[in-house]
């Protein structure tokens, strides 16, 4: 898949990949000529197809470990089945650079203990679609770091300066 800027007919470049958050990846592309930006948002099934390809959008930082895919994606594994291999985080557990999804999934798990006030949710709804997942993630991380259990409009005001919305 490639993206071209319709405004200036220039191939766009990958700028950032965020997620998955609630099963959705947000992949932002920018035009190097006119700085126009777009975001590709995947649904959970599209995200799973990317996972099933065993690739990371934007590339990997480290080479894959042996059987990393099957160790990461298999839902149930016999204890001790594989000796001498380092732990590879599953999408539901742990964090680390080897799994493109685990870090965010872990944060998503932490965020599950946070509740959003309806008024705060309403505020978030005003954020443009393409950055809303990033905004949600940023707010939840901010709240978790401070030990908040509820996200209110006041918390959003606190975050506002940092995220710029």
């Amino acid at each position: 898949m490639k993206f071209v800027c319709v405004l200036c007919d220039t191939p766009m470049k990958l700028e950032e990949t965020v997620g998955p958050v609630e099963g959705s990846l947000s992949v932002t592309f920018a035009c190097p000529s006119c700085a126009h930006r777009i975001a590709l948002l995947t649904n959970p099934w599209e995200t799973q197809l990317v996972r099933a390809l065993d690739v990371k959008i934007g590339g990997r930082n480290t080479p894959p470990e042996s059987w990393e895919f099957v160790r990461t994606m298999l839902a149930a594994r016999r204890e001790g089945a594989l000796e001498g291999a380092g732990d590879v985080a599953t999408p539901e557990e742990g964090a680390g650079p080897r799994c493109p999804f685990s870090a965010v999934a872990n944060r998503a798990a932490e965020a599950a203990s946070l509740t959003w006030d309806p008024s705060a949710e309403e505020r978030l709804e005003r954020v443009p679609d393409f950055i809303r997942p990033m905004a949600r993630q940023g707010i939840e991380r901010f709240a978790a770091e401070r030990g908040y259990t509820r996200i209110t409009e006041e918390v959003i005001d606190e975050v506002r300066g940092t995220l710029g919305f």
Binding site: W45, L53, F69
Partner: protein
């Protein structure tokens, strides 16, 4: 406006490069495997896995270095058949070290990773109900890792035991474009022939790999009390079917309850009963494959 083909590169997504790296890794590993043969049928329940396990033993008994890939991700049985069930895999610097069965046969199977008899293969995913959308890709990537990341070492032959279904053959040939050939197994029933013919045609039409020949399993049954021999299935003439499809007929293996018992014990039948009609048939078929490999 520019089209897809006007744009060089993928804008930094790097997906194509990662897929290429996966392919290169697989190719590098498989460069140490002289021959790769898939055991296929199209039809389930014809004894592909039993035939695979015993042919592996027969060839290993003749001194060949053999690996067995259980390509049936959802119904793995090779670990059981080759007596390595429950053994641990070990991570080494060159990849995952597979357990060795009889005669040093290296075995890789999904069964080695599953926690219990009852545990099906399930994947992390958004919803299992819709898993049909992505399960196939999961399975192909699992096979890719089993092939590419296992420290197979130098092998004379890698036998891949495939699940039923012609579509699964294309999964393996997609990973192994240099697959040496397919060995087709059937039982002598018209129902089995009906399906197996389709598998042979699919392999042929798609030019996935040469079809090495047809093996008939459970051809006849010999009574251990009176010695009378009779056909297990009425009607199906496998030799005639092979001739009609211009396929080499590699042999017929008798049904022998001891073969099933040996499979259940995880002790290959050929080791304990080499002098039985079924054992001799398996040895003959293995020798034919070996002769073909040497002539290649």
């Amino acid at each position: 406006m520019k089209t897809y083909w006007d744009i060089v590169g993928d804008g930094g997504s790097n997906v194509a490069a990662q897929v290429e790296a996966q392919t290169a890794r697989l190719r590098g590993r498989m460069a140490h495997v002289r021959r790769k043969v898939a055991v296929v049928s199209g039809k389930g329940g014809v004894g592909k896995s039993t035939v695979t396990a015993n042919l592996a033993v027969a060839l290993a008994m003749d001194g060949l270095r053999i690996g067995v890939l259980d390509a049936d991700v959802n119904g793995p049985s090779m670990a059981k058949l080759l007596g390595v069930r429950g053994r641990s895999l070990k991570a080494g610097p060159d990849g995952i070290l597979p357990p060795e069965g009889p005669m040093g046969i290296k075995v890789v199977s999904m069964d080695l990773l599953l926690p219990s008899d009852e545990t099906p293969v399930a994947w992390h995913g958004p919803a299992q109900q819709e898993s049909f959308i992505w399960r196939g890709m999961m399975e192909v990537n699992t096979l890719r890792e089993f092939l590419a990341d296992t420290a197979w070492g130098e092998l004379d032959l890698l036998l891949a035991d495939l699940p039923p279904g012609t579509d699964r053959i294309s999964h393996l040939t997609g990973l192994l474009p240099d697959l040496t050939g397919c060995l087709v197994v059937t039982v002598p029933s018209e129902v089995s022939h009906l399906i197996v013919k389709k598998a042979v045609s699919a392999v042929r039409d798609a030019r996935w790999a040469p079809t090495l020949g047809l093996v008939e399993n459970m051809g006849r049954f010999t009574c251990k009390h009176c010695g009378a021999s009779e056909a297990m299935f009425p009607g199906g003439d496998t030799r005639a079917m092979a001739a009609a499809m211009a396929l080499p007929f590699l042999g017929s293996i008798d049904f022998d309850p001891r073969l099933a018992a040996a499979s259940d014990r995880g002790v290959p039948f050929l080791l304990s009963h080499p002098d039985t009609p079924a054992g001799e048939a398996l040895t003959r078929i293995a020798r034919t494959i070996q002769a073909w490999m040497e002539a290649e």
